[in-house]
């Protein structure tokens, strides 16, 4: 016969057990003198603790509380404007975070855009990206390159590199997209998966 832990016997004595567990402990305690003694000991302690008698509050306690409540009621009505609501406290920090993020995004884009904003013309395209095999650029007004500091700097001379057929086809397609009038905003287009993949393909080829 396995005895229960003191903690379980204590919980049993104080009715802290679930019904099923309580039944198990009860059955054991009925047969085990040692466990019964532990439960009895907790009962004795409980009776001893009854000796700390409650005290009555002072006779003026209720009157003091009433006076405090009356003072509270007598306070002039405070208009609760929508700006005093709890959520307003969080609005300012939230707006601050949004502003910081917006500014950071703007800075990031402005640093990134000079390269991207330059809509490559046929002339400015590197040899590997110029229309090949007589494929003419799409009709429409020729995009005007925006002068940027990067353009003023001498461009490094690209060394010819081996181009696979698949990569070459991809680069042709990229050149075509970049020269379409309706798709002049290359920066925007860069978000499209196709272009991103093409760009990656190009980099891979370069490497």
């Amino acid at each position: 016969m396995k005895c229960f832990e003191r903690e379980q016997l204590f919980a049993y004595g104080h009715r802290l057990l679930a019904a099923r567990e309580e039944e198990q402990v009860r059955a054991h305690v009925a047969e085990c003198a040692a466990c019964r003694a532990v439960v009895k000991e907790y009962g004795k302690l409980d009776t001893l603790l009854d000796g700390w008698r409650p005290a009555e509050p002072s006779p003026w306690f209720d009157a003091r509380v009433r006076a405090a409540i009356a003072a509270e009621s007598a306070k002039p009505y405070r208009f609760r404007s929508p700006f005093s609501l709890g959520w307003v406290r969080w609005l300012a920090p939230a707006l601050g975070v949004v502003l910081v993020l917006t500014a950071a995004l703007a800075v990031w884009r402005s640093r990134r855009s000079p390269e991207r904003l330059v809509t490559p013309t046929v002339a400015s395209l590197p040899a590997s990206r110029a229309p090949q095999n007589g494929v003419a650029p799409a009709p429409g007004p020729a995009p005007v390159p925006v002068p940027t500091p990067q353009m003023a700097r001498p461009q490094p001379v690209e060394t010819p590199r081996p181009v696979t057929a698949a990569a070459k086809a991809g680069e042709d397609e990229l050149g075509l997209y970049e020269n379409l009038t309706v798709l002049e905003d290359y920066d925007l287009l860069a978000n499209f998966d196709v272009l991103s993949e093409l760009s990656r393909g190009e980099k891979k080829v370069g490497n």
């Binding site: 903690e7 204590f10 907790y42 001893l48 005290a55 405090a68």
Partner: protein, 191 residues
């Protein structure tokens, strides 16, 4: 008889009489709880008043998703624990713990049985009070709520913001400490 919940809902609609009824029902038990937590009657009454004031101030935001007493004791426990932390390091003089209280000299002076019984009772009471006061704050709150305020352990868990199993563990550890500290009274058969 209306339940606490019904009374509190009426208070939220501006019924001052219902608040009076809640004060009548819970004023004394709440003050006793705080007195047992803090040792000092004056401070206990100040905090009990503060608890009722906070209940009144928050009446419009009251949501009947828990028992009224859970809410009441939760406010009271938070105030009591804050007060205990604020006063750490100080040694407050508990009521009734005067030089004569429980001292052997007082008992020698007057040996009439009724006085002796009274002194034994107050001596025992002092020992019990000291044993409970020496418990860590949360154990003390759990024991007082469970033993003296008749608050069940599920409610104690909500008051203290802990799990029910944590309350059972707190109570067990507290009773084990009390059993050790009060062993002379338990063995001496002074019950």
């Amino acid at each position: 008889m209306e339940t606490d919940l019904e009374l509190m809902l009426r208070v939220t609609r501006g019924d001052e009489g219902s608040f009076e009824e809640l004060l009548r029902r819970h004023g004394a038990p709440l003050t006793n709880y705080l007195r047992r937590m803090l040792r000092e009657s004056a401070l206990a009454e100040d905090l009990a008043q503060e608890v009722f004031l906070r209940v009144y101030q928050a009446r419009e935001r009251y949501r009947p998703d828990a028992r009224f007493t859970t809410w009441l004791y939760r406010i009271a426990t938070n105030l009591a624990l804050n007060a205990i932390r604020d006063r750490k390091g100080e040694v407050p003089q508990a009521e009734g713990e005067s030089a004569e209280d429980g001292s052997g000299a007082a008992r020698l002076v007057d040996s009439r049985p009724n006085v002796e019984q009274q002194l034994m009772q107050s001596d025992r009471e002092r020992l019990i009070r000291q044993a409970i006061e020496e418990l860590p704050e949360r154990q003390r709150a759990a024991v007082i709520l469970h033993k003296y305020q008749d608050v069940d352990y599920q409610q104690i868990a909500k008051v203290l913001g802990v799990s029910e199993s944590a309350v059972k563990s707190l109570l067990f550890r507290a009773y084990e400490s009390l059993r050790t500290r009060l062993e002379p009274l338990l063995v001496g058969g002074q019950l």
